[in-house]
Each structure stands twice: as C-alpha cells, then as structure tokens.
C-alpha cells in the first residue's frame, strides 16, 4: 500500500512546533533550544579561552570587548538559557520518576517565574559591571 510518509528532518522539526500545544510542550521545546544553545556556547567558550595561548595582551583586548553592552546582553541571554534548562531539568527529574507528574504545569510555571526573577536581578548586576 502506498502511503504518505514525511522525512526525518520534517518530523524532527516537530520538536519545536508549539502551536496549539500546552505548557509541557513549551518546556520540551525550550529545553531543546537552550540545550543546543548551551552546547554551542561551550565550544565558543573553549575557543575564547584558547586566546590565553596568545598572551595577556590578546586576552585583555577580549575582556575589554566583553564589557561592551552588546556582550553583556549576550551574557544575560546565556544566563536565561542556563536558568531555563537547569530549572526545567529539575522539574523533569522530579516528574520523570513519577513524583508530582500531575503538577508538572504548575511546577513549570513556578520554576520559570523564579528563573525570571533571578534573571532580572542578575541582569541588573551584569550591567553594573
């Protein structure tokens, strides 16, 4: 029987399709987006650290650049990714073993509000640097 099947790429895109979906799916998609972002950041971070090989002047030049508002904004975005991924990871660890699975939406809301508060406080500190 000839049937319509979609490609793996198109199917994988569904991980990020939150249209008409509920909080659990938003958390699922956010965890994947932030996870990919944090892996990319890890390699960027290692690349930046490798500047130390070029001596103090190269490092000092980068640090000067890193204090610009643009880079500080990137730091805030990085922190947002860490908070979303980490706090959502806590929720998954709890619900994933059968504890409070029925309260997963409430947990997501509480943790994301907590993360938002931490992020605002941290952003204010970051821009005071």
């Amino acid at each position: 029987m000839s049937t319509l099947n979609y490609s793996k790429t198109r199917q994988a895109a569904r991980w990020f399709d939150v249209r008409r979906r509920k909080a659990g799916m938003w958390a699922y998609a956010l965890n994947r987006i932030t996870g990919i972002g944090l892996v990319v950041y890890l390699y960027l971070h290692l690349g930046v650290l490798s500047m130390l090989i070029q001596g103090q002047s190269a490092w000092d030049a980068f640090v000067g650049l890193a204090r610009s508002p643009f880079y500080l904004a990137l730091d805030v975005i990085l922190l947002a990714g860490i908070l979303i991924h980490g706090l959502n990871g806590l929720r998954l660890a709890v619900t994933g073993f059968g504890f409070s699975a029925g309260a997963q939406k409430a947990l997501f809301t509480i943790l994301m509000i907590s993360g938002g508060i931490i992020l605002i406080a941290a952003a204010l500190k970051i821009f005071q640097i």
């Binding site: 049937t3 979906r21 659990g24 799916m25 994933g96 059968g98 997963q104």
Partner: protein
C-alpha cells in the same frame, strides 16, 4: 444555519498532497464530524475519512482540527470556528497517511496488542448493579460498591485506541519504534492487574526496552490531548519509578 469554510488535507496515492477548501451550509449545533460528513455527501464523495459511533466510543474518527488532535464527533463546530477563517482538518501525525484523513493504524493496533492492551475491565463483570438500584432519574445507579482496587484501573479502560496520544507525542515523530503513550499506559494497566512474577518481569521488560519508558521526554502532550482522560504520561512516569526502584534495590542487594 451557518456558512462555514473548511480546509481539508487531501492526499491520494500517486498524487501530491494539498488542501481543498469547501464552503459548507450547516446547523449551528453541528459537530465537526457533521462538517466532514457534509463535505463528503454534498461536495466531494472522493473524500476519505473514518468514522463509526459518533459519540466518542470507537475512536476511529480522530483527526487534527486547527492543528490539535481531537475527536470530531464530540467537538462542536462553534468551539473551533472563529466565524472568519476556515477550519483546518488534517490527518493524525506520526501515522502513514493512506488517503486524505485516513491513516494506517494496523501497526498501532499490533503495538497495543503486544503491550497487553485490554479493552474491558475485569472488575466491570462483578459490579453489584441491579435493576432496583437505579435512581429516580432512571439513569444512574443509586449506589455502586466499587472494589478497592478499581480506581487505578478504571481510568485507563476508557482508552478507545483513537491514536490521538501517538499523534500528539513529539518523541513519536522521530522514533517510530517507540511503544508510545497508549502502549505504555496499557503496559502499566496490565502490570497492576497481576502479581505473577513471570508476567511482571515480561511487562516491565517491555517498558524498560530501548523504545520504552526512557524514550519519553516528558512533553506531557499525550495527557493533554487524550479525549478520555487516560493520562498516559502519569502512567509512564509511574512505570519509570518502579523500574528505577527495582534497579536501586538490585544494586544494594535487596529483594525486588
């Protein structure tokens, strides 16, 4: 009467997929299945779809309405139509499309059988219902003494095998061997109906496999989409807890 635009996914073997738009004259009290029926009866008899009971018992008519998995037989037209844009009706995801809204469900049913799905609840056979216990309204029994262990069974036995949870699950999209929410909930149910160690080992072995409970990534969409309140996600998490506890006990040399 309402004049409702409806956009329906079309596919026939050997042809490119497309969406056809129809304008349907239909009563305000209609359900979405009536809209599909009207399109078939008055506009295009080649439209292929599946339906049977019209009251959410058979699960055969499951489709996506405006992107969300629903049983069109219990969704009122006015609940999904905003009065302007066409209602979009598409087949379930994660199933091969045979024709238009019709998907291939053979593999799904085989999976459900392998997962020990039972449709009827054993406990229903001995519920103490008699004719003279019916209430004045003539519908509901006055009292029903449920067995102590019924509560944990009776939700799942509402599963009508509609496949909606399989369509809503994002993990199913990339692992077509994943047992899926319905199958895992069936395993949970079967496991809690038996204390036979051999049977328990077999069921937990199914759940613990590469495509079992650990493949679930907790989107909880199965529970959100289920029209029968089966709550497959909680069943998956409960199976995980049992498997994890068994491993811990084994690790510390305790009796499982």
């Amino acid at each position: 009467m309402l004049t409702v635009p409806v956009e329906i996914f079309r596919f026939k073997p050997g042809q490119a997929q497309r969406y056809d738009t129809f304008t349907v004259e239909i009563a305000e009290t209609a359900h979405v299945i009536d809209v599909i029926d009207t399109v078939w009866a008055k506009h295009d008899p080649t439209l292929t779809f599946r339906r049977a009971c019209h009251h959410s018992s058979c699960g055969s008519c499951a489709v996506r309405i405006n992107g969300a998995e629903k049983l069109p037989c219990i969704v009122r037209l006015t609940d999904v139509w905003n009065g302007r844009n066409p209602i979009r009706i598409e087949p379930l995801r994660n199933f091969p499309v045979v024709s238009d809204l019709l998907v291939e469900v053979g593999d799904f049913f085989e999976r459900m059988s392998a997962a020990s799905m039972t449709i009827t609840c054993e406990a229903e056979g001995f519920l103490p219902l008699t004719v003279d216990t019916f209430a004045v309204a003539g519908v509901l029994p006055k009292t029903v003494e449920l067995p102590d262990n019924l509560s944990r069974f009776n939700r799942f036995e509402q599963c009508i095998e509609c496949g909606i949870c399989m369509s809503a699950c994002p993990t199913m999209a990339t692992d077509n061997k994943f047992i899926g929410p319905a199958g895992l909930a069936a395993i949970y149910q079967a496991r809690h109906k038996t204390d036979d160690p051999t049977r328990v080992k077999h069921l937990l072995g199914l759940a613990d496999g590469e495509h079992g409970v650990w493949r679930c990534h907790s989107a909880f969409e199965c529970t959100e989409a289920c029209p029968q309140a089966v709550d497959p996600a909680s069943k998956i998490m409960a199976l995980r807890r049992e498997l994890a506890l068994r491993r811990l006990r084994k690790m510390f040399g305790l009796r499982i």
